[in-house]
């Protein structure tokens, strides 16, 4: 698929007050989201993360400051034009029940007046991209499972190839297994199409898993910390962030590292216990495996099963302190 440009998004001291409330929903929020990154807005309820996201496509208008997309203020766009150029995915999916899956996916291309043949090709391409059989195009939303519906929601948001996607807790209503699968697929998809994505969640684990950068918001829409997952886990800005990311942040950091990304100990002929793990395993899973098997070390192998190094429990501790 043709990966068009992604957009850089800048929040510049954006403030939103709701009438009748003394506290701001979002207060002087400043963020720069590099083009092509996934930025996760995370925080407890009342932290203004959804409000912050909806101000980008002006479903909510801000009171002060500015939001720019590739340098152009969102206020300079006509609101409907702006929205047609931004992919939008919500938790309840909001598929149109009276339209087929193909009709749903074709919504924005139709608004943009694409020719029929181009729309048809695009729908087929998107169904494949989100892992749905082409025959689903003729079905209605009621015939799909929750996970399949959100795949369609994703395809619909990608339809006109927007440089920016807004995703509001898209996997929040799914069971843990489906949720995990869709998170993995979103990362695969993002690697393929490289859009800028603003992703809202209240789940810090989801944020760590998906985000290139995480913005942690606190009550009143104040930015507590904005950084990569690894740096947030390693150096929480304050007690609020430390509590929010959890006492197990060391283990969470291990989940960010794959065995083939770290320096392993050399194979010295002696293969301990025959316990092995492939290079794509995370340090956290490898540690868990060693703990549950009562082993001190395991052999890391490549896809073909050839040993490439050894990882010991002691080395895991070392790696963590080096990070």
């Amino acid at each position: 698929m043709s990966a068009t440009s992604a957009a850089e998004i800048v929040f510049d001291r954006v403030t939103k007050m709701y009438p009748g409330r003394s506290e701001a929903a979002v207060e002087e929020l400043s963020l720069t989201i590099p083009a092509g990154d996934i930025c996760v807005l995370v925080g407890p309820s009342g932290a203004g993360k959804t409000t912050a996201m909806k101000m980008v496509n002006r479903l909510i208008e801000f009171d002060a400051g500015d939001i720019t997309i590739d340098g152009r203020s969102v206020k300079d766009f006509d609101a409907t034009e702006l929205r047609r150029g931004i992919g939008y995915v919500i938790q309840q999916v909001g598929l149109f029940p009276h339209l087929t899956i193909a009709g749903n996916i074709a919504t924005v291309p139709r608004l943009l007046g694409w020719p029929k043949a181009r729309i048809r090709d695009r729908v087929a391409q998107l169904l494949e991209l989100v892992g749905l059989d082409p025959e689903y195009g003729d079905r209605y939303p009621v015939q799909l499972s929750g996970g399949q519906r959100q795949r369609v929601g994703l395809a619909r948001a990608l339809a006109a190839d927007p440089p920016l996607m807004l995703m509001d807790e898209p996997f929040g209503a799914l069971d843990p297994i489906t949720r995990d699968r869709l998170q993995v697929e979103l990362l695969r998809l993002h690697a393929e199409v490289r859009k800028t994505i603003i992703f809202v969640t209240h789940d810090i684990d989801e944020a760590i898993k998906l985000g290139d950068r995480i913005a942690i918001l606190r009550q009143g829409g104040v930015l507590a910390q904005y950084d990569t997952p690894d740096r947030i886990l390693a150096h929480p800005a304050d007690d609020f962030v430390a509590r929010f990311v959890g006492a197990d942040r060391g283990l969470k950091r291990l989940a960010l590292r794959r065995l083939d990304e770290i320096e392993l100990e050399a194979l010295d002929g002696a293969v301990p216990d025959g316990l092995t793990a492939v290079g794509s395993t995370t340090l956290r899973d490898a540690l868990s495996l060693m703990m549950s098997e009562g082993a001190d070390a395991l052999v890391v192998v490549d896809e073909a099963g050839n040993p490439i190094g050894v990882l010991s429990v002691a080395r895991v501790g070392q790696v963590l302190s080096e990070l």
Binding site: T80, E81, G85, F96, Y140
Partner: protein
């Protein structure tokens, strides 16, 4: 003072006809055959016309009112009150009120019939629109549909089942109420009923006109069910 002797009980004169007709049996197919062209068929067509016009005008008014009340929520209570109020006026009383203004005309009948459709149609259209899930509305807005596009492409199609359900109720009840029009004008299936009851108590005419009225209502309802299924393939899917 003169006693009319030997006159006996008053028996209506059913004139010349089959023994069935002269004896005023419950139902005489022969009479229906003989009088289809001069009595029943015209009455049937008039009845369809009275009903059709009433439902069409009622729908146009209720539709506009429902759109207003959907867009401006505070308009719902006053509009709802007026349609409720109209619905509660007995039809005979309404005719009495209207005749001095509009006379013994089709207009009188239509005004009355239209006012009875309003409540059902208004409520159903409004509920249909309000039944659109908020997530669907939000998705539409978030994807850049304008308010008019959202109404035409999303909200009205989704409200269609409720709207057609309202049309079914309004149509069937109007077909039934329209028989009362015969009190004002000599039209519709109510007229043979009226004649049959008030003038000669002729059973066949009453039965035939009554049965036709019921048949028309059933057929109209069935047709609307077909329409409903045709425009909502996504529901049973």
């Amino acid at each position: 003072m003169s006693l009319v002797l030997g006159s006996g009980p008053v028996i209506p004169d059913f004139g010349e006809g089959s023994s069935c007709e002269t004896q005023n049996d419950f139902f005489c197919p022969g009479w229906v055959q003989d009088h289809w062209g001069d009595t029943l068929q015209p009455a049937l067509l008039q009845h369809l016309k009275l009903t059709g016009i009433a439902v069409a005008i009622g729908f146009a008014i209720a539709f506009a009112a429902a759109l207003l009340a959907y867009r401006y929520r505070r308009l719902d209570p006053p509009i709802g009150f007026v349609s409720d109020f109209l619905y509660t006026i007995p039809s005979l009383a309404l005719f009495q009120l209207l005749v001095p203004i509009t006379g013994l005309t089709v207009t009188t009948v239509e005004v009355a019939l239209v006012s009875y459709t309003l409540l059902i149609l208004y409520r159903n259209i409004l509920e249909g629109l309000r039944g659109v899930p908020p997530s669907v509305r939000e998705a539409a807005r978030g994807m850049g549909l304008t308010a008019v596009q959202t109404l035409l492409r999303i909200e009205l199609p989704l409200a269609a089942p409720a709207i057609v359900a309202g049309l079914r109720l309004a149509t069937v009840s109007t077909i039934s109420i329209a028989t009362v029009a015969a009190l004002v004008i000599p039209q519709g299936l109510g007229y043979p009923l009226y004649i049959g009851i008030t003038q000669d108590v002729f059973k066949t005419e009453i039965v035939a006109a009554g049965a036709l009225t019921i048949l028309v209502a059933l057929v109209a309802d069935a047709l609307l069910v077909v329409v409903q299924r045709a425009i909502t393939p996504w529901r049973k899917a």
